[in-house]
């Protein structure tokens, strides 16, 4: 986890100054790259390879993983263990985890110029919770103000590949297998039934949010080369206006990092 930069006490900026500060930070900021896809699609392998490559290029890299915030992870872990979560509770706790990591890890790291590589981002929750029957609009509200990554790699695999890769390593856990909604006692059967819906939701999200698709069935090195190429080809765009609300709220709440307010 990245340490939050030192804050100047009681730093309060007007909206205009805040926007000027964002514009000034633009050239120095890091990029947020998200790795998404169903279980067994190979995204973690590719995320590790990509992280090493970025580091070899001289970038400072911060990795953030799904449901890993020190505030929410213990809450989720304890409740998942006893199968005590409804789809709404799971979604809300994951949204809290996402918000906490965004404010405590991701934005401070980006602000300081580090590259942030996310092993799953909010799209994981959107896909899984939509597969659980929750309303997409409500979920987007829970996650708003949204903060979009600069690049989203979506790893696609068939249901058979996903199931065989997962089953060869471990028995899927209760919520990963969607047993809370399928009511199937066998984790693998439940995983297949649930993951087919998740894959469908990822396809829908991919169309809405324009992910960069990576064929997770291709050889590992071939995928890695394509990811590097896509990353290098991708033009560095400015922080989109849709990200401004999340950024200004973070700056207002946590204060402007020391020495960054032009005073």
């Amino acid at each position: 986890m990245t340490a939050t930069p030192a804050r100047t006490p009681k730093t309060r900026l007007g909206k205009k100054k805040m926007l000027a500060l964002l514009e000034e930070r633009e050239a120095k900021r890091g990029l947020l790259i998200a790795f998404e896809g169903p279980d067994g699609s190979g995204k973690t392998t590719q995320r590790k390879l990509f992280t090493r490559w970025l580091e070899s290029q001289g970038h400072r890299v911060v990795t953030t993983k799904w449901a890993s915030s020190p505030l929410v992870k213990p809450l989720l872990k304890a409740r998942k263990k006893v199968h005590a979560l409804s789809p709404e509770e799971l979604c809300l706790l994951q949204a809290a985890d996402h918000r906490h990591r965004l404010e405590q890890e991701i934005l401070p790291a980006l602000w300081s110029g580090a590259m942030v590589v996310a092993d799953r981002y909010l799209f994981t929750s959107l896909a899984r919770d939509a597969a659980r029957g929750l309303d997409l609009d409500w979920m987007l509200h829970a996650y708003s103000p949204l903060f979009w990554p600069d690049l989203v790699f979506n790893f696609t695999v068939s249901l058979d590949t996903s199931t065989s890769r997962v089953a060869s390593k471990r028995t899927p856990k209760f919520y990963d297998a969607g047993q809370d909604v399928t009511d199937l006692a066998d984790p693998i059967s439940s995983y297949r039934a649930f993951e087919s819906r998740v894959i469908q939701e990822y396809e829908n999200l991919s169309l809405i949010f324009r992910f960069v698709t990576v064929d997770g069935e291709r050889p590992i090195y071939e995928q890695h080369k394509r990811i590097r190429q896509l990353f290098q080809e991708g033009r560095r765009a400015a922080w989109g206006e849709w990200n401004v609300e999340a950024l200004t709220e973070w700056l207002e709440w946590a204060g402007v990092p020391k020495g960054e307010h032009g005073a």
Binding site: P70, P74, E88, R99, W138, W253
Partner: protein, 192 residues
């Protein structure tokens, strides 16, 4: 004029800024209901233990923004609705939800979050049939983060510990104003 007793399976929202006031008001409300032969139960804040566990965590990990805290509040409320409020209502009981939505709205608005976001977030929670505000009594001690305190106290202390721009005194004043405005809006619907 004698007030009408609530019908069975009534959800009564009891909101306030301090846990002690909520507990006192809930007790009084239950006594009044009992005197009218209405069986009631109370659904308290943090029935799921989410905030208790956050309070147990390391102080450096406890830093959270108002939005994060409201998401946790919503998760706790979803738990209370599933295990306490909806089953009791289905069984024909009157339930006092202490606190319910107005406390969350008051905290959110006092922290500058939009009413639109708060409304959308809590759409899963049914509207209460009656509303009450537990007003602060006497001089309140300082708000400290403690799992024994209520949501507004706990959350204000958590935010104040990290945010340089958060003024707990001002936030509390705004919360009280929000709750009073909500009480005015709801007055006509109160059945107690």
């Amino acid at each position: 004029m004698a007030r009408k007793a609530p019908a069975p399976a009534t959800l009564i929202a009891l909101d306030g800024t301090r846990d002690a006031d909520l507990r006192r008001s809930a007790r009084a409300l239950r006594q009044r209901l009992a005197s009218r032969k209405v069986k009631s139960g109370v659904s308290w804040w943090d029935a799921s233990g989410v905030f208790f566990e956050v309070g147990l965590g390391k102080r450096k990990h406890r830093a959270a923004s108002p939005r994060t805290l409201l998401l946790l509040y919503a998760a706790d409320l979803a738990f209370r609705l599933r295990w306490e409020i909806r089953p009791a209502l289905a069984g024909g009981q009157t339930v006092i939800a202490a606190p319910y939505l107005d406390t969350a709205f008051a905290f959110g608005e006092a922290c500058g979050l939009s009413r639109e976001w708060l409304t959308a977030l809590f759409t899963f929670a049914p509207a209460a049939d009656a509303h009450h505000v537990a007003r602060e009594r006497g001089k309140a001690a300082g708000w400290k983060p403690s799992a024994r305190d209520g949501f507004a106290e706990f959350s204000s202390a958590v935010v104040a510990a990290q945010s340089p721009s958060f003024d707990p005194v001002d936030a509390r004043r705004k919360m009280i104003a929000c709750l009073e405005a909500a009480a005015r809006r709801h007055r006509s619907r109160s059945v107690i």
